[in-house]
């Protein structure tokens, strides 16, 4: 069975500071990991994914995420936050044993203050 956890409902960061949005997962097979972002009144937008290969994955808008197999984590990071990064961030997981469904976390609201 799959599960994904985003332990923080909200993350507050000052503009220019690094940000981290946490995600941990549990899967039965090899994990496929995704981050999506949702801006107000918009649909979810794909940011980045890990399927295989390098543990550090780079995605859109300067975001990156690190796959850590031993800690079963896939934290989203950005070296320098922008006010425009303020949005709702969703971690999602599939696995090599699953079909077409992605299992989403409940989302973390990121607020970047000037």
């Amino acid at each position: 069975a799959q599960s994904v956890a985003q332990p923080e409902d909200q993350v507050n960061v000052a503009e220019g500071n690094p940000l981290t949005v946490k995600c941990t997962y549990s899967v039965s097979g090899n994990p496929y990991l995704f981050w999506y972002v949702q801006y107000p009144n918009r649909g979810l937008q794909f940011l980045l994914k890990y399927i295989t290969g390098d543990n550090l994955v780079k995605g859109s808008y300067g975001f990156e995420a690190e796959f850590n197999k031993s800690q079963t984590s896939f934290h989203l990071k950005k070296p320098s936050a922008l006010v425009s990064d303020s949005a709702l961030y969703f971690c999602a997981v599939g696995d090599s044993n699953s079909g077409y469904a992605l299992n989403f976390g409940k989302g973390t609201s990121l607020l970047v203050t000037p």
Partner: protein, 116 residues
């Protein structure tokens, strides 16, 4: 840039009424999905659709739910007899490959359903 479009953006209905939510996926995509998000809760998978049939469905997708691709462009979700607990934001998505494997999902902006 191609996008997934959903209508209506918001629908209010009485309990027991039928509701149809409509989606136009990206034209060259082959896989279609419905997800929902009850307010304050996680985004939940409902159903996936490929080659004119359901490929996978969750426990949420019971007999009161159905999906259809009636004309090669629209992808609809029907709730036959709505319940209060069906109130949620419903997201349509499409992908070129299986979203659970190497692909990525393209989501619409959602249809908010309120059941009174």
């Amino acid at each position: 840039e191609p996008e997934v479009t959903q209508t209506p953006s918001h629908q209010v209905t009485q309990m027991g009424q039928e509701v149809i939510l409509r989606c136009v996926p990206i034209s060259n995509h082959l896989y279609f999905y419905w997800y929902r998000q009850i307010l304050g809760q996680k985004v939940e998978f409902l159903v996936s659709f490929y080659n004119n049939e359901i490929s996978e469905k969750s426990e949420i997708f019971d007999d009161q739910f159905s999906v259809e691709r009636p004309d090669g462009s629209n992808f609809t979700l029907k709730i036959r007899s709505t319940k209060l607990e069906d109130s949620a934001m419903y997201f349509c998505a499409s992908s070129e490959l299986s979203g659970a494997n190497t692909g990525e999902l393209f989501f619409g902006e959602g249809s908010r359903l309120t059941v009174l």
